[in-house]
Amino acid sequence: MAGMSELTASQRFQAFANPARFMALSDRLLPLSAVVTALLLAAGLYLSLFASPADYQQGETVRIMYIHVPSAWLAMFGYMVMAGASVVALVFRHPLADIAAKSAAPIGAAFTFLALVTGSLWGRPMWGTWWVWDARLTSMLILFFLYLGYMALWATIEEPVRAGRAAAVLALVGSINVPIIHYSVVWWNTLHQPASVFRIDGPAIATSMLMPLLIMALGFTLFFVTLLLLRMRAEILRRRVRVLRLARTER
């Protein structure tokens, strides 16, 4: 019996792609990633609420940043995961890609929702308005609707293969929105501030605020990964249930 090390890279990829292998691997990985997620989020909450300073301009409202910015990053990260998995599903007909794309959508939608609402809660005291139809806010709202539309497609088309193909096409068409969101603060005049972490000249934010932000962002990312694994497991089982029921009625 050949060990994993004797396989070629592509064979290893194929082996990992096998849903049964995924179930075995994710079963071992999930408890670990859940614990690390909890620890990171606890540390992030402590740093962002207690162990970080108020901003000299924004006062205590700057603490909203530690929720808002990681949510917005994960909203976009989630869409990229979904669109990337959709490409793999369409081109390679990979058994897990479809499942990954479908499972990522509700998590990304939840983070988009959080980014929108926490942004509104931050905008009211700092900009004097809950909402403004500018490029950044509008493109984020479109991202939220893309997620909802994607999930609605899955829910309305009965046959998983057809549903997956239609949803993947929607995810790909909608992916044009991701660079628009990112560059919206550069291309258009907007109330929203430009990027202060991912900049060519390095982060323009004090270390005392950057650390809580990065810990929180890491916690949110691991939360995403943990839930993605869990939801993919549920989805694999859901399809197994569907096949078993179909087999039952055919007899």
């Binding site: 931050w122 005291p125 829910a155």
Partner: protein, 65 residues
């Protein structure tokens, strides 16, 4: 302590932001766990052949939520 909860006068904006994040993230996690357990239960029943109840075939499992 009161000063901490007051958030420099911005309590009405800071706490709802944190509260909502906690509710949404814990809610999504609980829903994911519940869905996984339900599918695992159904799969085990079907594989054991114990589920005698015939169910509607040819339906998208998503619409059963």
């Amino acid at each position: 302590m009161a000063a901490f909860f007051d958030m420099g006068g911005y309590a009405a904006f800071v706490w709802p932001a944190y509260g909502l994040a906690v509710i949404v993230m814990i809610g999504l996690a609980l829903q994911s766990v519940a869905d996984f357990r339900m599918q695992r239960k159904l799969a085990r029943e079907l594989e054991a052949g114990r589920s005698a109840r015939p169910r509607a075939p040819m339906r998208n499992p998503d619409s059963e939520a």
